[in-house]
Amino acid sequence: MNGKNFYSRRFFLKTSGALAALAAIPATVKSFYLDAKRLIIPPRQKQPLIVKVNKQTHRLEADTRTTLLDLLREDLHLTGTKKGCDHGQCGACTVHVNGERVLSCLTLAATLPGKEVTTIEGLADGDQLHPMQEAFLECDGFQCGYCTPGQIMSAVACVKEGHTKSVAEIKEFMSGNLCRCGAYNGIVESIQKVAK
């Protein structure tokens, strides 16, 4: 059989018919799926949102389910704030809201209008690092670095709150930030350095 005979008129009609049928099926299946989905799964609810992060105001629309953590990382592309456990157990997502340290993973973005958020990206002054960032570099306050943005945000607050009178007090008031590398001694040293 040569090539010319293989692509016969009959072959062309049969295949194109079959392809057309195939193309039609997914459309019906898809619309059926969407109908079923609408019945079973409640639709997502979006709301307009104005948030102030690192002194910049953002106007966007967000799903009511969005946490501050996801808003920062997915919508504002501020990926310095890290997602560790996402359940309020590790402190990696620590940011400041109105100057106080909080967990961004347990903060719904919808509760933020009227409040000011500061993240690790908002700590430095241009190229001038925050003293706590300098101290972490100098005192080996980290190894892998994943928990570091949360540690630094928490450490800045810890100094501001005045919980730096002893190593024991620093450890107690930094207990909400876990470090799997175990860089705790360097972290405590960094805080003592800045608190001086």
């Binding site: 799964i41 409640p42 639709p43 997502r44 609810q45 709301q47 799903d63 009511t64 389910r65 946490t67 996402d86 359940h87 309020g88 402190g91 620590t94 106080e100 340290r101 909080v102 967990l103 347990l106 903060t107 719904l108 919808a110 509760t111 928490s154 607050a157 810890c158 709150e161 919980h163 450890k171 107690e172 008031f173 207990s175 909400g176 930030n177």
Partner: protein, 325 residues
């Protein structure tokens, strides 16, 4: 997380009238948002009531009133709390982390759900999460389970530290119900035992809002202690905790308060031991006898017998610490 509607309320009465079935009130969110992520709480909507509730601690004629929205961190550093009810500050600081204490509200602390591992593990039966499905902890891991007041339906414990101090100080809870009626619930009657409804943690009427907590003026601001024993030094829930407070006349105990967390479905007052302590000499022998009375009352599960011994030690130590506080 299931999609939900979100609204903010600016008045208690408006929040109450907007409240529908399957809609929940949101304050600090430290527990509720987590439960929603795990599909344990699946509300259709949230009403943010953080702006409608008081965030002030006020001294009143015979008590101290703590607004429902006073954040844990503010409560622990409030000058009036430190002067009149320092036991409360001690207990608050033993719980959670600085970040969570900055978020969590006073009323939310009362309403937090148990930390029983099976309640959180949605692939296992749990009568509290899914009524009638059974209790996994009854024949499972019982390290965090109750040693008193439990039944076959539920062996979970109440996780709060603040509530143990509030129970010890005989606080009361001020509530506004759906019909805008004001109710006062004594703290001892606020939380409940599992009974046949382990899915309910407390007696807060349906769709009601806690507006404040009152602590009656008391003589327990000099000799007090809060001792919490847990699997790590900080940022962990209690295996057992003890709030102890003594009113002393010389070396004689005029009045005593003793309550525990990590032992029951509700904050637990050790009333027999309190009665025993009254009028006795404040010394090691008295404290050890009180601890033994408490130990007689508890019935540990097969998997948490250690808690009985641990509790005895914790009570002796806490009472001893009252003398040095």
């Amino acid at each position: 997380m299931k999609p939900f509607s979100f609204s903010k309320s600016d008045k208690v009465s408006k929040a109450l009238s907007a409240k529908k079935e399957a809609v929940q009130f949101l304050a600090g969110g430290t527990n509720l948002v987590d439960l929603m992520k795990k599909n344990i709480a699946v509300p259709d909507g949230l009403i943010d009531i953080s702006a409608v509730l008081s965030d002030k601690v006020e001294a009143q004629t015979v008590n101290t009133r703590i607004g429902a929205m006073v954040r844990n961190s503010a409560l622990a550093t409030d000058p009036q709390i430190l002067a009149k009810n320092p036991l409360v500050a001690k207990a608050v600081l033993a719980g959670a982390s600085p970040q969570i204490r900055n978020m969590a509200s006073t009323a939310g602390n009362l309403l937090q759900r148990t930390r029983c591992p099976y309640f959180y593990e949605t692939s296992t039966p749990c009568n509290k999460r899914n009524p009638g499905s059974g209790c996994s902890a009854l024949h499972g891991e019982q390290r965090m389970s109750a040693i008193i007041g439990y039944n076959d339906a539920c062996v979970a414990v109440h996780p709060s530290d603040l509530c143990i101090a509030l129970a010890a100080l005989s606080a009361s809870v001020n509530v506004t119900d759906k019909g805008n009626k004001q109710l006062v619930i004594p703290f001892k009657d606020f939380h409940k035992l599992p009974e046949s409804t382990p899915e309910l943690d407390n007696h807060l009427p349906k769709d009601a809002i806690i507006t404040s907590v009152d602590i009656p003026d008391n003589p327990f601001n000099k000799h007090f202690a809060y001792l919490k024993l847990r699997d790590r030094d900080s940022y962990a829930f209690a295996l057992v905790s003890v709030a102890a407070a003594l009113e002393l006349e010389g070396n004689r105990i005029k009045d005593a308060r003793l309550a525990s967390g990590g032992v029951a479905h509700k904050p637990w007052r050790w009333q027999k031991a309190e009665q025993y302590l009254k009028g006795k000499e404040a010394n090691a022998a008295t404290f050890s006898a009180a601890a033994a009375m408490v130990a007689d009352e508890v019935k540990p599960l097969p998997g948490n017998g250690f808690k009985k011994v641990m509790l005895m030690g914790a009570i002796e130590t806490a009472l001893q610490n009252c003398l040095t506080a």
